[in-house]
């Protein structure tokens, strides 16, 4: 079975938010509802200064805190690595919103559901790239099977030394970043 994930090459990311809006359009999200957000940090002082871009979304953790804390089993880890939500089982308690160390959950008050990146499950099952990956003008986003050592993402992790964010939390995040 596959273990799907992403590699985000932040040496190419231009901080344009195209991924954010492509995701919103794919899932018809509200304007303030972002399953994928851009974080910008200014580092250094003039003139040796730079802005550091990071795109943050659900990391589809192997041992996902949101799955652990969910009292109804609405959050679950699928065999192919995706962390998904049985919306019918969700009672809107927001435990998962608090538990996620990446603050990847976005609670939709109207629907009473904590939304998040689904790694475009409906697209990938048809063999189509996730919306954010396809849209990325810079070509900084890669999707694939992390368990397949020959996949593009696996090779990128090795060649470009891609790392997870906060692997010390031991949640086993499946999004890797090249810096």
């Amino acid at each position: 079975m596959a273990r799907y994930g992403l590699v985000v090459d932040l040496t190419k990311c231009v901080g344009c938010s195209s991924c954010t809006v492509a995701c919103q359009a794919q899932w018809e999200l509200e304007p303030e509802e972002r399953w994928l957000r851009l974080e910008i940090q200014e580092e250094g002082s003039y003139p040796a200064v730079s802005q550091r871009f990071t795109t943050v979304q659900c990391m589809h953790c192997d041992d996902a805190p949101c799955v652990r804390v969910c009292p109804t089993g609405a959050n679950y880890k699928r065999k192919d690595g995706l962390v998904l939500i049985h919306e019918a089982r969700c009672i809107g308690c927001k435990y998962c919103v608090v538990a996620c160390p990446y603050q990847a959950r976005v609670f939709n008050e109207e629907r009473g559901i904590p939304g998040k990146c689904r790694l475009c499950d409906v697209r990938i099952q048809k063999g189509v790239l996730p919306a954010c990956v396809l849209a990325c003008p810079a070509g900084a986003r890669y999707f694939g099977d992390l368990d397949d050592p020959n996949s593009e993402v696996s090779r990128l992790i090795v060649i470009k030394k891609a790392k997870q964010i906060r692997p010390d939390l031991r949640t086993g995040p499946n999004i890797y970043y090249v810096r």
Binding site: A2, D9, T11, K12, C13, V14, G15, C16, S17, S18, T20, V21, A22, Q24, A25, Q26, W27, E28, P31, E32, E42, G44, S45, Y46, P47, V49, S50, Q51, R52, F53, E87, R111, I113, D121, V122, R123, I124, K126, G127, V128, L129, A131, V133, L134, A135, C136, P137, A138, G139, A140, Y142, F143, G144, D145, D148, N150, S151, E152, R155
Partner: protein, 729 residues
Amino acid sequence: MSRIRLSRRDFLKALGAAGALSLGVGSIGATQVLGKGSTRGAWDEMPRLIPTVCGMCDARCGVLAYVVGDRLYKLEGNFRHSQSQGKICARGSAGVKLLYDPDRLKYPLKRVGEGLFDRISWDQAFREIGDKLAAIKDQNGPQALAWAFHPDLSELWDRRFMAAFGSPNIFTQATLGRASAQAASRLTLGWEPVSDLKNARYILLFGRNYAESMYYVAATNALMQAKEKGSRIVVVDPRLSRMASQAHEWIPIRPGTDGAMLLAMMNVLVAEGLYDAPFIEANTVGFQELRDFLADKTPAWASSICDVPAETIRRTAQEMAAARPSALVDMGLRGAWGATHANSFQTARAALALNALLGNYGAKGGLLPPPPNPLGRLQLPATPPLQATRADGAGGEQYPLASTADGIYQMLPEIILTSEPYPIRALIANHTNPARSLPNTSKAMRALSGLDLLVAIDTHLTDTGELAHYILPESTYLERLDPPSASKYLLQEVALRQPVVKALYDTKPAYEIIAGLAGALGMGDQFAFTIEDVIRESLRPLGMDLASISRDGLWREAKDPSYGQPAFPTPSGRIELYSRRLEESGYDALPVFSLPIALPREQDAFRLVQGRDSAHTGTATQNNAYLHALSPENKLWIGATRAARLGIKTGDWLTVSSAAGEVRIQAHVTHGIHAEAVFMVHGFGHNVRAQRLAYHKGVNDNTLISDAREPVAGGAATGETIVRVRRVR
């Protein structure tokens, strides 16, 4: 409506970059991206994929519209179109929110009082506007009508209307964007170059912001591919843009002094014998004169002007020489010299000359001529010759080299207010918003309010619309058929904009509006052709017609840009480092540097730099729900050191004032800006309640900006604006 189904092969092409994807791919039809299984949008119908052309800016990248029933679900990049290659920027994706914006104009409006409009029919609108135009023509002559437009695919109609009416006073946004650099390129090379970013080994960007001002998403992609392959990217900019953050090196420069740095780089190339002598010998005129002129333009000379270390200038020149001919200075859009300072024309000339010293014209990884336009033209009866000359002097004695096709837009308020050289009493503003786009807003508003007739054609009620006597609602780019678009990027390519949904409201494409107005003026015989006629004749040389192009939405033959020796259609047939034509017109024949006219001198004085962010296009997108959420308002960037001295912290409210006006804006204190510059993003500060999201959000930079002109092409010298900044206590 055409429907395309992707074959599996096409589809794998779409996956392109991630070709190594190891998925068990089943049969792929048109359903692949349907959000089925989601609780939102569980549709019964399959989506249709309609290829069309984006209209969120004027780059015209190919997109695919996913349409379910009669509803647009989503827009993605068209992977077959070389400008998008399946990619799409934030603005492109947000097109769906333009179409379904509840604040759109829905029917024609007539002004009946201050901020009061009545719904009228199209017939009534055409008739009344026609009567008023006829009266103005009788009283003041046809030249009393001005026409401003944002050049789009219906340009043929805009221009023909004015020709038939008899007025030369047509204005485009060129002088607000790139007129200075365009004029410099045409005069120096005979064409406007395109950067072959993907193959360049050294890319120097002066203000060109491929991260935040995406013009061709594929260009941003090419730039990042080059970076991945090990090419060096260096950004010279007073501000740490997102592009500068993603470059190998950011060289902060004193704003308005780019020309001095370019001259000093050339000085190094010549003095150290690093330039491409055979290329210069074979392709240029005036190298001797240029060389003599450069002799004292040393890095030390430039350093004090630009506030860039001499060693940095020298090293940059040497590094570029080592990478030539695959080393380029991007000519940019507006950037540092598109139409930015009084010296922009000559600064652009200096950049063109530097590229010549690198011998990169026509080279892989260099600057290439734009692809030839392959489209045919509908033969139309000639319009009567114009009697009047342009009111702004473009093409005349004052601005002999300024474009008569584009005019000098920011002069229009002055002409209206003074009636010099003659009265202009009416303006039709098609898809342009002079009340927010023109420098010196208060002057522009005064001029617009005093017109006998102002007509606004747009998708939204704008600040211009609020002053207008009639407002004619335009169909969005997703609801209309347009003449084919020929690419100006690397490849010869034609794309078709076609409607993806039926018009939602009682709106019309601009060309139908223009033809309707012409009919009301008795000029209908000059417009006895349809959009279909124009498309048919445009496509004829390609052996295509509307039916055949609508399936794929595009035509292309070449796979690669054409490299090799380009022709230079200048008077000498060569690159004009020294231009006799400039000399004869009373300008400097060499790319001389002059300091900006206005200089910040006091402790609290700064040069105002304006620019873009990745969410917005000019003043047109601030009410788009997705883009508004990404970037709701602008802040004033101010350097940390001087901010501390002035007691300013991030979030403080500031009063910013210039000779033109005053605004209140919040501070964004940063290390990412040159001490003498403050920066704000252009396009905010809408004062129209009908744009419910954008209303009173952020600040209109043009309130502060000077309506100064660059003297050769008439470009807006927006950078000639000095502001005083103080904290509100």
